[in-house]
Symmetry: C2
Subunit: 140 residues, 2 copies
Amino acid sequence: MMVSSRGRYALRVMTDLAEHRGEGYTAMREVAERQGISLKYLEKILPCLVAAGLIEGVHGKGGGYRLTREPDRYPVSEILRLTEGDIAPVACLDCGTETCSRSAECRTRPMWDKLNTLVDGYLSSVTIADLMEGPQSTEK
Amino acid sequence: MMVSSRGRYALRVMTDLAEHRGEGYTAMREVAERQGISLKYLEKILPCLVAAGLIEGVHGKGGGYRLTREPDRYPVSEILRLTEGDIAPVACLDCGTETCSRSAECRTRPMWDKLNTLVDGYLSSVTIADLMEGPQSTEK
DNA sequence: TAATAACCGACCTAAGAGGTAGGTAAGTCC
DNA sequence: GGACTTACCTACCTCTTAGGTCGGTTATTA
C-alpha cells in the first residue's frame, strides 16, 4: 500500500475546505462530521499542512481553517508528500535514505525510477479542483 | 511504500534465475550469495511462486529452481501480485476488501482508480527479460 | 548412507498504522 | 471579565506488518 489513511484523509479535508471556501473559516468539527472521520485524528494530521503554509487556522469562536490558494493550485502530490513523508513506491528511492549499496549493479533500479516518475507525474497533474467535481455532484 | 522487500527480492531472484537458465537447476544458496540476501528469508518467499507454477524446484544434490517460461513471458505485475498479495496504491481498491461504504460519494475514488490503472499498466509492460539488461551488463 | 537442497512451522523484534484521552493557548461573544 | 469555542500539543494505547532467525523434516542423488 502506497497511501495510508493519513494522506487520504488530508485530501478529503482539503477538498471539503475547498467546497466550503468563501464561507470564512471552517471548523474541523464540521469537517470531521461531514466526512465521518474522528476529530481527534484530524487534529493530528493538520498541523503539518499549516506549517507548510497550505492552510491557515484561527482560534476561537468563528474560527477554523481556510485555504491559502485557489483549489487548482494544490497538486495532490504536494499534499501527500507532506502528510505521508514520501510517496516513492520502493524504499530505495526515498529521499533521505542513503543510497542502496547495490544500486550501481541493481537490475531493477531503472524500473523503480521510471515507476516513480510515472506516479509522481500523475499525482502532480491532479489538483484539489479536480477532486471537487466528484462522482456525485449532487451535494453542494 | 507500495512494494516491500518481499516483492523486490522475488524480482531479483527471478532475474537471477533467468540469467543462469540453461545451466540446469540453480540452488537458492548460490542466488542468496550472489544477491546478498539471507537464504532463510528467500526460502519463505519462493513457495508461492512454485505453487503458482512460475518456477519449479527439485530436491537433493544438483537440485534447485528453474523457470518454466521464457523470461519475456513474466510480467513484473504478476510476480508482485503473488508475493505482495496486492499492489493497489490504496486500501479501498484491494480486491477482497469489502467496498468502502462511502465509495459512491467519495471525491477521491476516481483518482485512485486511474492511478491504479496507470501503475498496473506499466508493471504489466515490463518483464523479467527487460530487467536482465541492467545498468551494468558487464557481469555475465 | 551421507550430503545436499527444497520445504515447513514456530518464534522474535521493531516499527508503523490508526487511533484515544486530556490538557493548554488563543481568540470571540455577551 | 468570564464563558465558550476552537486550534494546538503531548502522551499513550492496540494491532498488524515487515523483515527476519532457528530448527527441523522430506526428497533426491552421488
